[in-house]
Amino acid sequence: MTKLSTEIEQAARALGQALRAQPSTQAYLEAAQRLEANPDVCNLEKTLYATYDALIARQQAGESIPQSEIQAFYELRDRFFGHPLVQEREQALHDLKELFQETVARLTASLGVDYTQLAQKEE
C-alpha cells in the first residue's frame, strides 16, 4: 500500500468532495441509481455486454458470425440505448466527463504531464 503524505491525502479528499458537490456529478449518480433500481434495464445491459463479449470471442477464434446474429445484436443494442433511463444516464455521463476532463486539465497544467496517463489502473 503506497503511503501518501497527510497533505496530499487531504488535498485529494478535498478535490473528491468538491467534485461530488458539482451538479454534474450529482445528476450522474442519481441517473445511475435510477437505472440500477430497474431490474429489466439491468438485465438488458448484462445481456448486451455478454452477447458482445461472446461475439468478439467467436470472431477472434476465426469464426464467421452469421449476419442474422449481428443484426440481432444491433437490435439489442438499440433497445438498450434507446431506453429513457439509459439515455438519461448517458447524457449525465457525458456532462460528468466534461467536468472531469476540465478538472484534470488543471491537474495536468500543474504537473506538466497528463495526470490520467499516470493514474490509470492496469487493465
Binding site: 503506497t2 488535498a11 478535490l15 458539482q22 451538479p23 489502473k121
Partner: protein, 129 residues
C-alpha cells in the same frame, strides 16, 4: 447537507473543484518520486543510444504498417525492444515511472471514493475526442 455549497451558483462551485485540482497538482509535482520521474524521463530522452534504438524501432514499425518484410521486422522490433529495456537509463526510468504511478493511483482512489465515481477513468479523453 452543506447549505453554503447549495446556494452557490454552478460556476462558482466548479471553480472550487478546479482550484482544488490545481492545489493537488502543485503538491504532487513537489513529491520526490515525481521529481525523480521527470529527471529520469529527461535522461531517457537525451540518451544517444536510446534515441538511436528508438529511430530503428520506428523504422521497423513503419515497415510493418506498410506490409514490408513483416515477419522479419516484427522479430527485429522485439529484439530492439529487449535491447532498449536492458539499458540502465531506461530501467531507471521504468522504476521511477512505477513509483510515480503507485502514488497517482493511490491519489486517484481517494478522489474517486470521495466523488463517488471513478475519476481518472472518466477524465480520460478517447482517441475519438
Amino acid at each position: 447537507m452543506n447549505v453554503q455549497s447549495a446556494s452557490k451558483p454552478a460556476q462558482v462551485r466548479s471553480a472550487d473543484a478546479f482550484q482544488a485540482a490545481r492545489a493537488l497538482g502543485d503538491l504532487l509535482a513537489q513529491t520526490p518520486e515525481y521529481r525523480a520521474f521527470i529527471a529520469a524521463f529527461q535522461a531517457v530522452n537525451n540518451d544517444p543510444t536510446v534515441r538511436q534504438l528508438a529511430s530503428r524501432m520506428r523504422a521497423c514499425q513503419t515497415a510493418i504498417e506498410v506490409g514490408r518484410n513483416v515477419g522479419q521486422n516484427i522479430a527485429e522490433l522485439e529484439r530492439l525492444e529487449a535491447e532498449l529495456e536492458s539499458i540502465p537509463v531506461v530501467q531507471a526510468y521504468r522504476r521511477a515511472e512505477e513509483a510515480t504511478r503507485a502514488i497517482f493511483r493511490a491519489v486517484d482512489d481517494i478522489i474517486s471514493r470521495e466523488a463517488g465515481v471513478d475519476f481518472a477513468a472518466h477524465a480520460k479523453r478517447s482517441c475519438c475526442g
